[in-house]
């Protein structure tokens, strides 16, 4: 592939490309008169800034999504770091190993998101101050409260990434990385749910997940049984139970709903 194919292909997908890059239009159209080798050597830097300008808007959306995800990852990292340091909170060896593994993933997600935001010329938000005890005062002394919050954070993470996938559709690399994080959060959620003797998947809305009233928003809408206009129970196969229909699909959460949940801990 070379620069000429690229511009042709971009034009197929986006007929406006030459208008977007406007002032440089003539420069690109005249490329044909350059030697191919010379063009390849000279063009890349110019292309970078031109495309940044032409498509800067979608890049901004992507950075916003990444900063939104970063806030959640900060929250999770901070939560597990504090919990692992809390005296006498986590005593079981297997549990401790699992939670350390999860903490390491969350820390890696923080690093990856910060680096990605910077690579897109964005500025990563700084770490907020979290107050996990604001609504759950015994979070770092009562193991069950701690696990309940861990489950809520992991399930929220899954729902939050899912809700933002569509906003990343313009950037394949970032979308794929977000999906790769998303499924790891789901694995964490499944393990923590089973540490609480709950199913690894979400059955219906909050009541089945055994969380206190304050954490119910985490599960709002998880009782949905219709997707893309198809009702799982009335339209599919020989009919499925509500448990199977809700457990088989995780639901997205909007940015606003996630912000509401996070505000319980700020």
């Amino acid at each position: 592939m070379n620069i000429f194919n690229i511009l042709e292909d971009i034009q197929k997908a986006d007929p406006e490309v030459y208008n977007r890059i406007d002032s440089r239009r003539s420069a690109f159209k005249n490329l044909g008169s350059f030697g191919k080798k010379a063009a390849l050597a000279a063009i890349p830097l110019a292309l970078g800034s031109v495309f940044q300008k032409a498509y800067g808007q979608s890049s901004g959306t992507v950075v916003d999504v990444l900063n939104f995800a970063l806030k959640l990852e900060y929250l999770e990292r901070n939560f597990y770091t504090q919990a692992l340091a809390a005296n006498g909170l986590i005593t079981d060896t297997a549990a401790k190993a699992a939670l350390q593994k999860i903490q390491q993933h969350e820390a890696a997600h923080v690093d990856l998101l910060k680096a990605t935001i910077q690579s897109l010329n964005g500025t990563p938000i700084s770490e907020p101050t979290f107050n996990f005890g604001k609504n759950f005062p015994d979070w770092n002394t009562n193991y069950q409260t701690f696990l309940t919050l861990a489950q809520a954070f992991e399930d929220t993470g899954v729902r939050a990434y899912k809700g933002q996938a569509a906003n990343l559709i313009s950037n394949d690399t970032v979308l794929t990385a977000a999906l790769q994080i998303h499924s790891v959060e789901a694995r964490h959620a499944a393990h923590i749910r089973r540490m609480r003797s709950k199913a690894g998947w979400i059955l219906g809305a909050g009541a089945n997940s055994n969380v206190p009233a304050g954490a119910q928003p985490v599960y709002a809408g998880e009782d949905n049984v219709a997707h893309g206009g198809i009702n799982d129970i009335t339209s599919l196969g020989g009919g499925y139970s509500t448990e199977i229909a809700t457990g088989a699909f995780d639901e997205p959460l909007t940015k606003e709903k996630v912000a509401e949940i996070v505000s319980l801990f700020e």
Binding site: V17, A108, A177, H182, G228
Partner: protein, 237 residues
């Protein structure tokens, strides 16, 4: 299948290295916002001149189709495989599991069957026919054989959806695929924990990322279990 388990790192090592992987033409314009990517890209993709070439078509193969339909049929093929597997596990092997595990197997059967039926309904007349599976390599009287096959299918499913997300053009389909993939990841975690507790997320690399695999690699890994020939030649790349 061992190969699959060991695959997480390498080309999935993170965003920065992803940008160095040669890309297909149609994806280029989506990268245009990333200044850093562009410089690398022009050189990294210089060997892609022949990327429109396709393998010869096998007239007996089931063609998944093109565009978003092709991608959804690809997911439908994998869900057919998983549904058939757990249906047999529940029919033949349930007595080998304790009560908690039995519930898990029943749930997995239900989830995979509903995924299959949902995708079939969503695809309507564009859906591929029922696939014929080949489970001769699985010993349904051996718990280890069942669990290790389940782990293979679940991890493969997660990697397949993670890799195919970028191939979808329609944001609604992307969200639908997202609703399914996290449940596959929950399955994978639970099956892994049943084999060895604490290994729920050992699929992830040191950046905390699960694998993402492209259709050709996924179908190659799944082909031992599917008798019907499948052509993915028209899928988006």
């Amino acid at each position: 299948m061992k190969k699959l388990q060991d695959k997480p790192s390498g080309k999935d090592a993170g965003l920065t290295s992803n940008l160095l992987v040669p890309m297909q033409r149609r994806m280029f314009f989506r990268y245009a916002g990333a200044t850093a990517a562009v410089t690398t890209l022009l050189f990294a993709t210089s060997s892609c001149d022949n990327d429109d070439d396709e393998a010869p078509l096998d007239p007996t193969a089931v063609d998944l189709g093109s565009g978003d339909t092709g991608v959804l049929n690809y997911a439908y093929a994998l869900e057919q495989l998983e549904a058939a597997f757990y249906t047999q596990v529940v029919a033949k092997s349930l007595s080998m599991f304790n009560q908690t595990e039995q519930q898990i197997m029943q749930d997995l059967k239900g989830h995979e069957n509903i995924h299959r039926d949902f995708l079939k309904a969503a695809l309507g007349s564009a859906a591929i026919p029922d696939l014929e599976v080949n489970f001769s390599a699985i010993d349904f009287n051996d718990k280890n054989s069942i669990l290790s096959t389940a782990r293979t299918f679940e991890d493969l499913g997660v990697a397949a959806y993670n890799g195919a997300g970028r191939l979808l053009e329609n944001a609604g389909y992307l969200t639908l695929a997202g609703k399914i993939v996290s449940v596959e990841a929950r399955h994978a975690a639970v099956i892994r924990d049943l084999i060895t507790n604490g290994t729920f997320s050992d699929s992830a690399n040191d950046k905390g990322l699960d694998p993402a695999m492209m259709p050709a690699d996924v179908l190659a890994a799944a082909s031992a279990f599917i008798k019907t020939k499948i052509s993915a030649n028209n899928l988006p790349k």
